[in-house]
């Protein structure tokens, strides 16, 4: 069963076509990750799924309905998107930011319902941001800041969450922290998570479903253990590598060839 589906999608950026006649399904209740090299269009694709970019042709179907025909607030109650590298205004506190996630449920007279309060509180709890709620977002570290933005999308209380490179600019500890948080949201609350990730190994570890994008086409899609291999990496990233098994998780682990120091004889020689 799919929650989002793209049918015969044609997208262009200015005059340059990015996708032509593309079909795609995002499975419900799973973690789906788009992988692909820079400029492959994976981010454009993610944004178009969230109606941030209008396709020239084709339709995006959300829960069986065309996204273009749904009121934008209704879409916002079903699907949240966190764009890449968002910036909060100077001095805006975490609480004030997270509250904005309630926008699709509010009106001028209803700006802080009991439901709003509950959802904001929950979002702050899940992301462990309660203690920072009165701190300005711009005073936080990179990882905390990203958690604040994720809290905002959680306050939107949507069954589906899209994230464009949520771990960019974070150190490894915080990358894992963010991805663990998203993993828990999927496991415990059964939310559908769709994201763009740069790190193939982390993609293989967290994603149930990967979609490999290459030059405006979907090269392959499926479970990482079924589709990620040397040939795919070569074709999609134009990189020679060896795909082995992650010693802890058993998921595919991609080790690039190239230069570097060799300390002892490689264990997995090819």
């Amino acid at each position: 069963m799919s929650v989002i589906q793209a049918d015969h999608l044609t997208l262009s950026y200015g005059k340059k076509p990015v996708f032509a006649d593309l079909n795609l399904r995002i499975p419900k209740g799973k973690i789906t990750v788009f992988i692909g090299s820079n400029g492959s269009g994976k981010s454009t694709l993610l944004r178009s799924l969230a109606r941030l970019i209008k396709p020239q042709q084709g339709t995006i179907i959300l829960d069986g309905e065309s996204i273009a025909k749904l009121p934008t607030k209704e879409v916002a109650r079903r699907l949240a998107i966190l764009p890449q590298g968002p910036v909060a205004p100077e001095g805006l506190t975490v609480l004030q930011l997270v509250k904005q996630g309630r926008y699709p449920y509010q009106s001028f007279l209803q700006q802080w319902s009991a439901e709003d309060e509950k959802m904001v509180k929950q979002a702050l709890e899940v992301t462990r941001m309660e203690e920072f709620s009165n701190r300005p977002v711009d005073s936080l570290s990179g990882g905390q800041r990203q958690r604040a933005w994720i809290a905002m999308t959680l306050a939107q209380n949507t069954p589906t969450i899209l994230l464009d490179e949520p771990t960019t600019y974070l150190d490894m500890t915080h990358q894992i922290e963010i991805l663990d948080l998203l993993y828990d949201l999927n496991e415990q609350e059964n939310r559908t998570i769709v994201m763009v990730l740069h790190d193939i190994n982390l993609a293989c570890r967290y994603a149930h479903h990967v979609i490999a994008v290459k030059e405006g086409e979907i090269y392959a899609s499926g479970a990482p253990e079924e589709i990620v291999n040397e040939k795919l990496i070569k074709q999609v990233f134009n990189m020679e590598c060896q795909v082995t098994v992650d010693p802890i998780f058993g998921t595919p682990l991609c080790i690039p060839y190239g230069k570097g120091r060799k300390v002892r004889t490689p264990v997995f020689s090819g």
């Binding site: 941030l52 966190l82 805006l92 904005q100 700006q111 802080w112 319902s113 009165n134 939107q156």
Partner: protein, 347 residues
């Protein structure tokens, strides 16, 4: 620590920062005091007690005449024009997501001034009541031109500011050209036009000025407050705003219309009083943070306070000369703008 108040009923619910509320109350008191002081001070000083007496009809005819007919309308206009310029600036800074802008910097008040000067030179045979209309037409024409030049699949903030700065210069140039080249312009008319361009609220009256401006204020100010919510999400960036279900472009157009109408209406009475639209929202953000539910009312109160005080200095510092208030807002505003540029240099 900031305490939050929750107001919740069957059909309404609000979340108000305690800090914002106390700042608003203090500024309201400050405005009241300033109004009383400004009404009292002048070439004939009148004590605050007598000012209040006169307002409630408890004084002699001369004092009552000075207070009610000469000074009070001018102070009321300072409150109205100051707050309208401030809110216009606050909206504009939010729309373009750039704190270094205001209706005077991007040429909207320049357009209004041009509209007014055209009226002074070519249509002075018509009733003075039409002057604001001419001014607002000027403001909207300037805004429409900026919008037209800046539009390419929607409006991006940076392009709007850059084109606006060019527009401001062009508007001033055209206005000066008009004043200087109109062959039959009597010197008195030229002086009037020049004074207007500096920004002054000299010689205001209840009927001509206060009543003309009032409908604009009554409609536009609440509308600005209602739109604060949309501006809050827009401040997070277009994609985030669209993601949470905001109709970004149509709301931005509406916000721009409110901002331009506020500046245009204010300029029709006050001329091009500069920098209030720039300074007031900055001070407001310093006091209550960047959320617009607080920034809009606080900016309004600061704008009115600043213009009241600037006008007080303008008409009392060099008695019997009455200097345009715009000179003094510029005197504080220009260094402030440089300070802002300096502070934003690093970011």
């Amino acid at each position: 620590m900031n305490r939050w108040l929750t107001l919740r009923g069957a059909k309404h619910s609000f979340h108000i920062s305690g800090r914002t509320l106390s700042v608003i109350v203090l500024l309201l008191i400050g405005n009241m005091i300033a109004m009383t002081l400004c009404t009292g001070l002048g070439s004939t000083p009148i004590s605050p007690v007598n000012v209040i007496k006169a307002i409630f009809g408890q004084s002699d005819a001369t004092t009552s005449m000075i207070i009610l007919n000469l000074r009070l309308p001018r102070v009321v206009i300072a409150v109205m024009v100051g707050s309208m310029l401030a809110v216009s600036g606050a909206l504009l800074q939010g729309i373009v997501r750039n704190p270094l802008t205001s209706p005077d910097i991007i040429g909207i008040t320049g357009g209004a001034a041009l509209g007014t000067v055209v009226f002074i030179i070519y249509f002075s045979h018509l009733s003075i009541q039409f002057m604001p209309v001419s001014s607002i037409i000027g403001a909207f024409s300037a805004a429409a031109l900026i919008y037209l030049f800046a539009y390419r699949h929607g409006i991006t903030p940076l392009r709007l500011v850059l084109i606006g700065i060019g527009m401001a210069t062009a508007m001033t140039a055209v206005t000066y050209m008009l004043i200087l080249s109109a062959q039959f312009t009597p010197t008195a008319v030229a002086v009037k036009a020049f004074t207007f361009m500096t920004g002054t609220i000299y010689g205001t009256s209840w009927e001509r000025d206060v009543l003309t401006l009032l409908p604009w204020l009554v409609v536009l100010m609440p509308l600005a407050f209602v739109y604060a919510r949309h501006l809050n999400v827009q401040e997070l960036g277009d994609e985030v705003a669209a993601g949470v279900g905001s109709r970004v472009q149509s709301q931005r157009t509406m916000l721009l219309i409110i901002s331009v109408a506020l500046a245009g209406a204010a300029a029709s009475i006050g001329g091009t009083i500069g920098f209030i639209g720039l300074m007031a929202p900055h001070i407001a953000r310093r006091l209550v943070g960047p959320a617009y539910g607080g920034v809009i009312p606080v900016s309004a109160l600061i704008g009115s306070l600043v213009l009241m005080l600037a006008d007080l200095i303008a008409r009392t510092a060099f008695i019997p000369l009455d200097i345009p208030a715009g000179v003094f807002t510029a005197a504080i505003g220009a260094p402030f703008f440089i300070y802002l540029l300096f502070r934003h240099r690093s970011s």
